[in-house]
């Protein structure tokens, strides 16, 4: 007999996110409800939550980069990123992001996943450059367009990372696939697996690249 009750926690997360309650609150409530429905005592739920939080502190380390980024912004980093792009003829938002997509995919495929990222590169460099290029194409951007262009910068970083990293042999997800299949007696090398990440990586580049070209056409048309 399958116990379906713990799934209620998932429903709580979906509803809470949809109604835009504070996500930290939603997650905490969902965790406690799921734990209680999974026949854990409140103290046990609290301990599991605390243990999980403590063990996963490394996820939050990335923010140590902010003092550097903030300091450089104080001295005009974003303005300089704009100036640089304004001086490059033929630089468009879409083309810039296509180059960034390719670079991000290749670096990730080489295992250099932390070389770029939202705090490291998107906020201080990529987003201001792309906004500056879009302004060149389009003139002054309205708020909606600025949001769209910035969101595309973040999206391009994600696509480049996700569909590049699995080509690298020693990435966690490849090792996880290898380990999971090995527990069923299926022995594969990381190389056999990572080769099959290449077709998807190419599709990701083509699909997202096409959207970036369309972004350029959109920006040009609204002028």
């Amino acid at each position: 007999m399958i116990d379906y009750w713990p799934l209620l926690g998932i429903a709580l997360v979906v509803i809470g996110f949809a109604l835009r309650f504070n996500p930290l609150l939603v997650v905490a409530v969902a965790a406690i409800v799921t734990g209680l429905l999974g026949h854990m005592s409140f103290l046990k739920v609290l301990a599991t939550l605390g243990h999980g939080f403590n063990e996963n502190r490394y996820v939050t380390i990335i923010w140590i980069i902010l003092p550097v980024v903030g300091l450089l912004e104080r001295y005009g980093l974003q303005e300089q990123a704009r100036t640089l792009i304004a001086g490059i003829r033929g630089a468009t938002a879409g083309r810039l992001l296509i180059v960034y997509l390719a670079v991000r995919q290749i670096l990730s495929a080489l295992g250099l996943t932390t070389v770029a990222g939202h705090p490291q590169t998107v906020r201080p460099l990529v987003a201001p450059m792309v906004v500056a290029a879009a302004e060149k194409q389009h003139g002054k951007l309205d708020e909606e367009t600025t949001e769209h262009v910035k969101a595309m910068s973040a999206a391009t970083d994600n696509v480049g990372l996700f569909f590049g990293e699995d080509i690298f042999l020693a990435i966690a997800s490849i090792l996880l696939i290898q380990g999971s299949l090995a527990s069923f007696g299926i022995q594969l090398t990381p190389f056999q697996l990572s080769v099959w990440a290449i077709p998807s990586a190419i599709c990701a580049f083509l699909i997202h690249g096409t959207r970036l070209l369309l972004l350029d056409r959109q920006l040009g048309r609204q002028k």
Partner: protein
């Protein structure tokens, strides 16, 4: 050997700095809420290992209470005006990129040194922590270079770092919270339940349908859990191995690799993958906290279809 604990000491110091910077910002009406929030995180980084699980659980509840009761705000303090920034940019020019690029450069050179030279054998850095240690080194070098070159006021890095950190706000700990939720989900048996449901609705006889269900299962479960890592072992056990590989004779490498990548399409579409989807929206100061997800859907869905085709053709027809 340098391990994660060294980094936790550094991270604790930086978060203590964010607490200090928040306290110094009088333009933020809720500054003491921010101060307490970042101070609790500093405490967690420094002393989390001494609190015990229940103690850490209470720390989590305190963080959630501060965020949930809306006790965190952001100030409007501007250290320099846009005009001053433009002047400064004109003065320093492209050299401003140098400190910013020190961090990725350190990561790049460090990764090369520790993977492909004799340094690898010295065990200077715990292999599990290499990337984060290099990030920490990069940050320290970049800070030293910036201070030596630009000569900002002593607390400038603290104030500017807090300005950005308070812009992100509570979203900064959401990824870590979601990771803890994953631990609870696993302990309560959510994975096995979903695996059993999917396994029960699998159609007989149609390879294509089974492939579609496997890929969609990866997407949906990834969207629920926030990452494909939690979804993969469950979906592999429910459909991937028994149906696709063993019964239908699919290539194991394709089923494994492309199955995981189908899950990544789900990662693009869920707020549960907060560090990729919610955090950047905050970091880029978007009005819509789901703005990044909104633009990713139109890439994720065609890419999912492409992955299903790759799975079917390369796994079963080649």
């Amino acid at each position: 050997m340098i391990n994660l604990h060294w980094l936790y000491v550094l991270a604790g110091a930086v978060f203590a700095g964010f607490a200090l910077g928040s306290a110094r910002d009088e333009t933020n009406a809720k500054r003491w809420g921010n101060t307490l929030f970042w101070a609790l995180l500093a405490v967690s980084f420094w002393f989390g290992d001494f609190f015990g699980d229940v103690g850490n659980g209470m720390l989590v509840l305190a963080l959630v209470a501060i965020a949930g009761l809306n006790l965190i705000g952001r100030g409007s303090k501007q250290s320099t005006t846009p005009e001053q920034r433009q002047q400064s940019a004109d003065r320093y020019g492209n050299k401003l990129f140098v400190p910013a690029l020190i961090i990725p450069f350190t990561a790049f050179v460090g990764t090369m040194l520790f993977n492909y030279t004799p340094l690898k054998g010295l065990n200077l850095i715990d292999p599990k922590a290499v990337t984060l240690v290099l990030l920490g080194c990069g940050v320290i070098i970049a800070l030293i270079v910036s201070y030596a070159w630009l000569r900002p006021p002593a607390l400038a890095a603290v104030d500017e770092g807090s300005r950005l950190m308070n812009g992100v706000g509570w979203a900064a700990v959401l990824p870590q919270m979601l990771a803890s939720l994953g631990v609870i989900f696993a302990a309560a048996g959510v994975g096995t339940t979903i695996g059993a449901i999917v396994g029960a609705i699998i159609p007989q006889g149609s390879v294509l349908l089974a492939v579609v269900l496997y890929a969609l299962g990866m997407v949906v479960f990834t969207m629920i859990m926030g990452n494909a890592f939690a979804a993969f072992p469950v979906m592999a056990a429910a459909i991937g191995v028994p149906i696709l590989i063993q019964a239908d004779g699919g290539k194991a490498a394709v089923v494994g690799a492309v199955g995981m990548l189908s899950g990544f399409c789900g990662t693009l579409m869920t707020p549960m993958a907060a560090n990729f989807n919610i955090v950047p929206a905050a970091l880029l100061e978007l009005k819509n906290q789901y703005g990044v997800i909104k633009v990713q859907v139109a890439t994720a869905i065609p890419l999912l279809i492409a992955n299903i085709i790759i799975l079917y053709v390369a796994g079963f027809r080649l």
